[in-house]
Symmetry: C2
Subunit: 356 residues, 2 copies
Amino acid sequence: MKDPFENRTKPYYKTHSLHPENQETPIHFIRSWITPTEYFYRRNHFPYPDLTSNSFLLQINGEIKDEMVFPYRYIKSLPAKEVTMVLECSGNKRSRFEPEVYGEQWEDGAVSQGIWKGVPLHKLLEAAGLKSTAVEVVFEGLDYGERTDFNGVFRYARSLPVEKAMHPDTIIAYQLNNKPIPYRHGFPLRLVVPQWYAMASVKWLNRITVIDHEFKGPFQTVDYVYYPNKDDDSGKKPVTTINVDSIIQKPTEYSILDKGLHEIYGIAWAGKGVIEEVELSFDKGLTWVNAELYRDKREPYSWVFWKYRWDIKQSGEYTIMSRARDSAGSMQPSKAEWNRKGYGYNAVYTAEVKVE
Amino acid sequence: MKDPFENRTKPYYKTHSLHPENQETPIHFIRSWITPTEYFYRRNHFPYPDLTSNSFLLQINGEIKDEMVFPYRYIKSLPAKEVTMVLECSGNKRSRFEPEVYGEQWEDGAVSQGIWKGVPLHKLLEAAGLKSTAVEVVFEGLDYGERTDFNGVFRYARSLPVEKAMHPDTIIAYQLNNKPIPYRHGFPLRLVVPQWYAMASVKWLNRITVIDHEFKGPFQTVDYVYYPNKDDDSGKKPVTTINVDSIIQKPTEYSILDKGLHEIYGIAWAGKGVIEEVELSFDKGLTWVNAELYRDKREPYSWVFWKYRWDIKQSGEYTIMSRARDSAGSMQPSKAEWNRKGYGYNAVYTAEVKVE
């Protein structure tokens, strides 16, 4: 059988909304180490900003000794660093929560891996001279718009604690996958924060303000907060580090398979530490086997590929499960921690399949 | 706020599998009367066939007076007919069944509307001279491959009862949306059967055989059969006519909305008869209001657009429901008839939304 379209049939984003643009990577159908830029997931709060000349200047102000403005060209001339890392929307897999939660119903593809190149943020902050009163660093993008919950117009803005801002791998990036960052992903400059969910990696970065208190913007204290209860805010805590997670890329859920040998494969990633182990179960979690891992040890923030050859001789219905364990001591839980806004889903991955 | 990408942000297919290619139309984001060909859903059982010269000849044999071979060019020279119609995979919305069923997890987009142009099949059958022994007409495509349930290689083949085959609107099509049918959709010739689910509309049509008995091919008697029970085949019946159905295109499920006026809109379609009414409920089915319908009365096989202006002043969680009623006396049920292979899902459509 020769399929003349075999090499021309390609996967597509899954569309969640167009204005603002929210489209997810067809993660089950992309098996490359780096997510090709044209498949990098797109997640926006607002319309794409109209870039004006001032967007090519990055301001730093607040609790610093010297207010500074860095032109784009100057930033590109500084010693640079490359970081290969997973960028994951904290709402990834939101559609899997039970009971269901409101918001974009992301499936498995609000996650991508890219090579980001830029200048370590701490170099710029050191040039500006952090004052000892500094508590947090606020990052503002050029995107703005309305919210459903408050009146007025808001700019997208987020903060980091000084310690995370000063981390040597927190960078002001100007390249994604060896090209200028595409407009949709934050051109000309994007804050890129390894290990944290992607709400921290502010696109179209325009202004950095060092403050002596905790930042209270709505994307910091209303959104991107875990609320464990449906009707009150008790027990809330901010969304920060990526949870240890994995997916089975193939077979896809509710597939029908032949008897015989099947290559089961997927990816796994973590915010703290690195992936140490991915285990699979074919009997609803009774017994587990280890998948083979493929990783780039030089890149601690990257995902790992995993693979397993499943030789299934008996027809019937099977639940295939994957669970990852990281070097920081976390393992995917059997049930995700429900929270009202649906962040951080990372339960053991399951795919039901039928063998006939 | 001016979004420079506003007119360039486009929706994409949702990918279910690449080999064979199964990708669904982003139906919630396409608001055109005719589905643009580049968004027409793609559903295949096998690899795309390698077209050879014989594919440009259509054979008719079996219970006829004269075996005939019609060249593609000759078919194009005959008096033609245009049919604007809904083509829907019988597995559309399969992912909504509870309990879940195996097979491609189609969401709402295994349905598209096109303008098909071709020659009424009955003209060709009359030219060949149907014998009085004719019971069914079998249609074979050029696509073939393996199945998970039986050994061997199978060609895709389906039959119609003579009466449906002789219906004046059952056509051998060579154009879709005013252009030659694209390869992925059946070039050069496709059987197009209005009112029936799309498994009947055989692509890459190569051979027509009139038979004096019921056809027993696996795509006729194993697949595309409603099996109401999980573990035995009792009560089975073949999949034929499209069930009355509707979707809410906007708002999408689990959206968060502002208070105020919202345009709720969607589509509705039916196999038997035409859509007479689309009703909406905002209170879980307690009360219903009529949506405004927009249709082309000259096209009985086409879907209708519907629209409603919802002015919501009270924040809270709402279930928006849509249900369509057709002129043949059917209405969408509150629960779809579960069947083992997941065909014909058409329960009242629901979208949960939160107003804040």
